[in-house]
Symmetry: C3
């Protein structure tokens, strides 16, 4: 239990209304009950606020006052999503195992694990690994030899980190993530078959990278596949060998990057988007869902379609596409009409 | 070995022809040999039936008689696919390990496993879990704390079920499935980087849910991601946090649902289809392969395209699209012709 | 260290320039330093060669001479990519664990493991398996009963091979691969729900198949899902039950094949492409990225689009699509103009 006024202080929010309200939990607007802090970041949903059973509501600075008697207490934040993130941490801390090393874990004698770490059942850690302090390695994590990770490294069950990977601080891997699998490199032989090009580079994950379930980041063929600081990958994402992704870029679920793709800082690739090999996606660029490009994309723009082009133009094209059958018919009718008109003109010439 | 007449009884089929035929196995029409029951559910493939070496053929009620001497014995079923499913169970039962707990499994002392269960090598089960009777947990399954599962729960190797998950009866998880991985929730900070929004909700899988290999169902941010009774997910499917999928819906391979998507009962999303966040897909609606929507879709209709619209209209649009280059040329020619005609008219005015 | 002339011999290359140059490593053109062999297979990037710090450059037979003083030593290969693959093997051999069986591995007493094999920590091998000589089974590989694999089988951490799978020689599975998961087969019952059709067939992987991280190949419903010799699957690929893929075919990342698809020899399906069930893709056919087909595709052609058609025609259609909004406007203007012209003609008739 925490008083609303005290919560306001911890979340760096302005408290509007009764600061003595007791807050015991956090929930979404529709599910919130007595004692809950709810939140509403979309002003278009303002009307819903009047009916909530929440004890208080976290909103943005410019969110309108909620007309209700007695008044609903508000917390106003400059960046309400960030305040919500912090509020969840305070009010419903996620489960986290305490420190300790499970006796079933198989850690190579030469490996070093930092103090305060948890190493779960059946974790396997190879020769020469160095894992920083306060790591949480859930059961069945596999770390191949010569992996170096910074502090507060979290890896969930069945994450695999292959040999030579370099990992910064505060990196999180969800279950089933594969870091450093072989890149897809084959050379066509004269007989039509393929010779494997050994993949002997590595992966580097910089600070605060988070990678969600069952995503794959391939090792470079010779040098480094790099995910810059703060890069976030959703589930089932594919990052091929030699890719280089700048800081704070977001790849949504099932996005695929082919080999040697470069993505600039703060870009967003929406779900199921794809980028062909050796392309550059500019800083801050957005690629919308299911779109794909086999060419470079400029910085700071939004692209759509497969192949992708400028989003506004694509909106016009897709609107027209939905009535393309009609357009085809109209064009046919028009041709007939013009042929007829030409004929009339022709006859008139006689 | 079983007599055809007896098999007919067990499958609730009508036996047409020699009921004394001995059936020893089941195979597809092309591969079937002596003693095999084959099946044919597509009447357009009727001609193939005459040449089968099968001992008998399972077909639908209205399937035409197979002209052959001696006559091919038939089993006629109201729902032939359902009868085939049952016939495979009887004639070629799938391998299944017997009950028993492998000594290498690491089960928290507080966890309960129902009678008749199999727990394979290196399975890890966390604190407070309750798994119902007759479970089959293949080697390397990882169950985090506080997971509750009903009866006859089957999880294949490397399935991961994260903390707090609720699982009904008769649920099957294929290898590598991840249930309850963190949702993809981040709040943009003033400096352009992202703060993680802790994901502290759960996943609920109702009775008879089956999820195929390496698919991911994320835990809700605060409340529940739910898969209704009988929902089936194919391989490599992505279900984001807070999704709600009603009973008996099918998501084919590589389908992706973004956060808070709602899908009605009995819908079918074909392979690689996608739905953006906060959309509703109506009851019984079909989305065809590789299609995607960022808006709500009505119940009981078929949608195609990316972005998706009504399927019949999409068929016309795609037919026209294949000759869009020609349409563009025709339009150009027509403009020139009309300009010419206008000029003639103009000249005539003089 | 190896002399360039000796390396030339081992790689079956022609040495052009100073054969006494000492080679100590291999790197890409941009990263290469003193002692490194670099390589350049794309003649369009010829200009970059002049500035490399590499000790020597591996190129194709017809690559132009690099103008530089002193001259840059060249290795010329008939198939430069194949020579690069061999050069990496020689100059930077990939890490590989030595033979030996980890005491934590759980191998059924009836299983046979060939001589020279490595079996890592927590590997589980079921009843009746026979694994050939010189296998490398990394930690946490799970092999269900009755799996037969040839020589030099490599499986990375968390690969799962389900019961009855047949594997040829020199097969490589990257981490998290699932072989033999149940096919997605359900029969609709009268009540709208689905009955599971047991999947009791198997998977056959022929010689030199390589499957990358987290890809899934489902077991056949009754017979066999087959990947022919030399087939390569990239990450997160889906191969459904009963598919048959001929030799030396490439499926790039996130490709999906629905059930009973047949793909001819030497085909290439680019990233995120999809093929619907029961289709045939011809020998040597290319499907470009994000394309999809629900019909058969002829041999030796290139297809694009969703639904896919001939690539050259698709290029024209997509070029026109980007200005479809303009086309729509032009068509509208043209109709108005023609209506006006018709009116003029009409008036002239009076």
């Amino acid at each position: 239990m925490i008083r609303l006024s005290e919560l306001a202080q911890q979340l760096e929010c302005e408290c509007e209304g009764d600061g003595e309200v007791a807050i015991t939990g956090i929930a979404s607007l529709g599910s919130a009950g007595a004692g809950d802090l709810a939140f509403l970041t979309d002003p278009r949903r303002q009307a819903e606020a009047a009916h909530t059973r929440a004890a208080a509501l976290l909103v943005g600075r410019r969110f309108p006052r909620v007309e209700r008697e007695p008044a609903l207490a508000l917390l106003r934040a400059e960046r309400p999503e960030v305040a919500v993130a912090r509020a969840v941490e305070l009010l419903r801390p996620a489960w986290r195992p305490g420190p300790g090393i499970d006796p079933s874990a198989r850690i190579h004698p030469s490996a070093e694990i930092g103090p305060g770490s948890y190493v779960g059942a059946f974790v396997a850690i190879g020769e020469g690994c160095r894992i920083g302090a306060d790591a949480v390695l859930h059961p069945h994590v596999v770390i191949y030899p010569d992996v170096v990770a910074g502090e507060r490294f979290t890896a969930h069950a069945h994450a695999v980190i292959r040999e030579g990977t370099r990992i910064g601080n505060d990196v999180i891997l969800q279950p089933g993530v594969v870091i450093g699998g072989d890149g897809f490199g084959f050379a066509r032989r004269a007989d039509g078959g393929y010779a494997k090009i050994p993949q002997v580079g590595r992966v580097r994950l910089e600070d605060r990278v988070e990678i969600q379930a069952n995503s794959c980041v391939d090792r470079a063929s010779l040098e480094e596949t790099r995910l810059g600081a703060g890069v976030k990958l959703d589930n089932l994402v594919q990052v091929a060998h030699n890719c280089d992704i700048e800081a704070d870029t977001i790849l949504c679920a099932q996005v695929g990057l082919a080999g040697s793709t470069q993505v600039g800082e703060g870009a967003v690739l929406a779900g199921q988007a794809g980028v062909a090999g050796h392309c550059r996606v500019g800083r801050g660029t957005v690629i919308t869902a299911q779109s794909g490009t086999h060419g470079d994309l400029e910085a700071g723009k939004m692209y759509s379609g497969s192949p992708a082009f400028e989003h506004g133009q694509w909106l016009r094209s897709t609107a027209a596409f939905a009535r393309l059958g009609d357009m085809q018919r109209e064009l046919r009718e028009l041709r007939a009409r013009v042929r007829e008109l030409s004929g009339e003109s022709g006859r008139k010439r006689d």
